[in-house]
Subunit: 211 residues, 2 copies
Amino acid sequence: MDKIKIIIADDSDFVRDGMRIILDVDEDFEVIGCARNGREAIELAKENAPDIFLMDIQMPEMDGIEATKYIVENNLGKVLILTTFDDDELVQNALKNGAKGYLIKNHTPEHLKQMIKSVHNGTGVMEEAILESLTKNADAKASGFCEDGYTAREMDIIKAVAEGLSNKEIANRLFITEGTVKNYITSILAKENLSHRTALAVYYLTGKKQG
Amino acid sequence: MDKIKIIIADDSDFVRDGMRIILDVDEDFEVIGCARNGREAIELAKENAPDIFLMDIQMPEMDGIEATKYIVENNLGKVLILTTFDDDELVQNALKNGAKGYLIKNHTPEHLKQMIKSVHNGTGVMEEAILESLTKNADAKASGFCEDGYTAREMDIIKAVAEGLSNKEIANRLFITEGTVKNYITSILAKENLSHRTALAVYYLTGKKQG
DNA sequence: TTTAGAATATGACTTTTGTCATATTTTAAT
DNA sequence: ATTAAAATATGACAAAAGTCATATTCTAAA
């Protein structure tokens, strides 16, 4: 089997050198380049095509997320994100941009090597906890909005607002005047302690309030 | 390192025996049991605790999804799904029930061993294609909003509106004037052919436009 | 180097929203 | 029969939101 060619991108000298040593002593791997940011990693890849990028997220100039996007779009190799944080948002972005893996940096050298091989074999690897939150988010889109304390008519108004209708449109739909719609909205906003209709729509749809 | 103790659950004799042989010849693994359905696998696990279950999905009596649920809830080990199909729905269910991996059965013995090790080390493994669809579904399912044609700055505005922020709040967050925020919104509304910010927020969050 | 696009800003203006006090009618509960 | 809540309405006003024309700066592409 050919060696797996690797480019390491991390802004910490310590991490870069450490990984290079770990991987270079293993005959299954060959570190063909080390970069201290995304742009450098991409430059290196153009000279010498790697199989896998080990990519940090936080880096100056061009971060790992952006770099991943470019690398995947231009088919320069597979990206395994290696980072210290497991922020949900970052994971989402990384995967959306085509990263094949997302690991935190506290794995033993042996584990790390296994996972690089897994990615090289065409399998995505994910920190267990991240995998969980990924699937949870997927269905638990609980609105959280509580209908208690609202009359049927108030709910008509709330639902209409959450469809993006204007006061005039709501008035027409419900055969009442615009003024009445306004009155309802004022009172609903007060109950939910929100300041305007858009916040109400967002709250109804996502269960999240600003602030 | 201790051997990784494995229970294989698959209704095909051929697959069971094949895997057993592949794993038993490797000193890193020990197959402590073979089951032809989920229930048998659970019985076996109660006598002799495994590290990993290699679990097929389609099995008589108790399928892999159900078995996974039970195994995870009762902490009997980690489950790696090994199947012939990559149906999106099944993947979702398996992961929701706590499976740590989902692979299709066409990997080489060497790859399979690597992935079992990865799972044993606490990393989830996913077929690449599945990983992609997972992240796509995660936001594309509900939203349907197309970010194409928007600059990063415009997206900042759109996201802020979809959080229910006012122009003033957006201006503060992005360090620009309220007027500039208004300009952005006017142009975004024109592009989407919407008439006000609430409709934009709703469209961004649900993918639905009024009328 | 010219050009185009992105990001920003301003001011004048219109429209929509939201607030508030007040009021009428209907309906359901006491 | 009385009462309270729900549904509705008005008008006056204040505060946001949205429109439009115009302008500056910076950067990336032709």
